[in-house]
């Protein structure tokens, strides 16, 4: 494993960004009022749950293929919110997973979500299923589940690869309302083509802040936005100034 090379810009940049995000969290915890713009894909979550309830059919939530990782944590956090909404209407949430560690986490989160939603008895342990660790065996398992259970709403959040379109197109043919979000940039076009709503890029990590409206999480998102503006300014500035900056500074910036 590599170590940080402090003679380059990268570790300094990571710490600078971390401090900015930390300041955002601090400001929010001190009471600074923060606003987050509307995300139509997240607004549609309630609509999707409502539609599944009206149709009397279950909801499918796929947390991607990754192991225990930051995107998977986010996916499971979103699954908790979806399950909390579903619990209010006593609607089932099916959650197939491809990793056994994720299985235990997902089962616990959904169990708690149903309890918080006021319907602990509506949670069925068999609705959180470990299908397979193999990518396409998992995909075919999910497709079979969608068809057998005639799901009314699909949520695809997490890391996906080639199976993304297989899942989303099957949901499309079933007429399910579909919401997706992924940090896998190559899969974003497939989800945009096949899903009703897609969360793109940094929005993926802002979903829990948007849903909970917790001040600390909003502060983190605010800090991230400041980081992005700073990075854009840095790129623009160095592009313009590269002819005037000393070569030693340019070497440092290039790493």
């Amino acid at each position: 494993m590599e170590h940080a090379d402090w003679s380059t810009l990268y570790p300094w940049l990571v710490w600078a960004l971390t401090i900015v995000i930390g300041v955002g969290i601090l400001l929010a915890s001190l009471g600074k009022q923060l606003h987050i713009r509307r995300l139509p894909a997240i607004d549609a979550i309630e609509e999707a749950v409502g539609r599944a309830t009206e149709m009397g059919r279950p909801i499918l939530f796929v947390p991607g293929l990754a192991d225990v990782d930051v995107p998977t944590f986010q996916a499971i956090a979103i699954a908790g919110h979806v399950a909390r909404l579903a619990a209010r209407y006593r609607t089932r949430v099916l959650m197939p997973v491809t990793n056994t560690v994720v299985l235990t986490m997902a089962e616990q989160v959904l169990r708690e979500a149903y309890a918080e939603g006021g319907a602990p008895q509506a949670f069925r342990a068999e609705d959180v299923r470990f299908l397979s660790g193999d990518q396409f065996a998992f995909a075919s398992g999910v497709v079979g589940l969608m068809n057998r259970e005639q799901v009314a709403a699909n949520f695809f959040f997490g890391v996906f690869a080639a199976e993304s379109l297989i899942l989303a197109e099957t949901g499309q043919t079933l007429g399910a309302i579909q919401i997706a979000g992924t940090p896998s940039t190559l899969q974003i076009p497939f989800f945009i083509a096949a899903c009703d709503f897609t969360v793109i890029g940094e929005e993926y990590y802002a979903v829990t802040a948007y849903l909970t409206r917790e001040a600390i999480l909003l502060g983190s998102v605010w800090g991230q936005d400041i980081c992005r503006i700073a990075l854009a300014a840095l790129i623009l500035g160095t592009t313009v100034a590269q002819h005037w900056l000393p070569s030693s500074v340019m070497k440092f910036l290039k790493g």
Partner: protein, 273 residues
């Protein structure tokens, strides 16, 4: 730091001891009241995150480095504990389907058949290749024993072929998704259609040679050649956009990681407050 144990007995003792200590710690954790448990998990998460961050950012071969691989192996150990839960989960769901004769119970029979067949064949070809089957003579080249051949038929002949079949379906799904995406109903869909057509044509002979191949390379209109247009679109429009998305994602991941380490993201680790 941790050298592999050479003595078999001591190795088994270590494994047994680890299971006992691990089970004891888990039982202890479950014995705590939920608020205490949440705090214990939050503190452990913070320490684990801090360890890897410090180890990475401190100079090479620092005081934390010798422990790095062992700490990273902890995740593998935890994953091994949960693997049994995954199999148990499958057995419970499919066993219940068969017992209650649910509408799709034959699929569950197929699951148990496949599971036992694959497990049995795999174990036999590795540990007991002589069991109820003749083995190839000594020195025979290219001749497989019965169980090894059976395992290969199941793994390469069935499982891999089935995986390839599911992957191949992707071609048809891409066609149907592309059809929907290319219907020109908005300005964005129109732009997508035009750019996609240019990139697709630039990658086939009909576009490169027939349609614009007649424009000389030295001509001031050479930029109209499809391969040059496609290259421009991919390097000047597509690549920067993808990089911008990646920038956003990595900053978002950094924020999320910070929230996890500091125990602020409570949706999955320590319950909502």
């Amino acid at each position: 730091m941790f050298q592999p144990v050479q003595d078999g007995t001591i190795n088994w003792l270590f494994i047994g001891g680890t299971l006992v200590v691990g089970g004891g710690l888990l039982a202890l954790l479950h014995g705590f009241a939920p608020p205490v448990r949440r705090w214990v998990i939050a503190i452990l998460t913070f320490l684990a995150g801090l360890y890897f961050a410090l180890e990475f950012f401190m100079p090479r071969h620092n005081v934390l480095t010798p422990w790095r691989d062992s700490v990273a192996d902890l995740l593998q150990v935890l994953a091994a504990f949960t693997f049994g839960l995954g199999v148990l989960n499958q057995f419970l769901i499919h066993g219940r389907n068969i017992l209650h004769r649910t509408p799709n119970w034959p699929f569950s029979v197929a699951f148990f058949s496949g599971f036992l067949l694959m497990l049995g064949t795999g174990l036999l070809q590795h540990y007991a290749p002589h069991f109820l089957a003749a083995v190839p003579p000594q020195g025979a080249i290219g001749v497989l024993g019965f169980w090894e051949a059976a395992y290969r038929v199941l793994f390469e002949g069935a499982l891999q072929a089935l995986s390839a079949t599911v992957f191949a379906l992707l071609a048809f799904f891409i066609a149907s998704a592309a059809y929907r995406a290319f219907r020109i109903r908005t300005l964005e869909a129109g732009l997508l259609m035009v750019t996609a057509t240019i990139v697709m044509l630039a990658n086939v002979p009909i576009g490169q040679q027939w349609l614009t191949g007649w424009i000389p390379e030295e001509s001031p209109w050479a930029w109209l050649r499809l391969e040059k247009l496609a290259h421009w679109l991919q390097t000047q429009i597509n690549a920067p956009t993808m990089r911008a998305i990646l920038f956003g994602l990595w900053v978002g991941a950094l924020g999320m990681a910070l929230r996890i380490i500091l125990g602020l993201e409570r949706s999955f680790t320590i319950g909502r407050q």
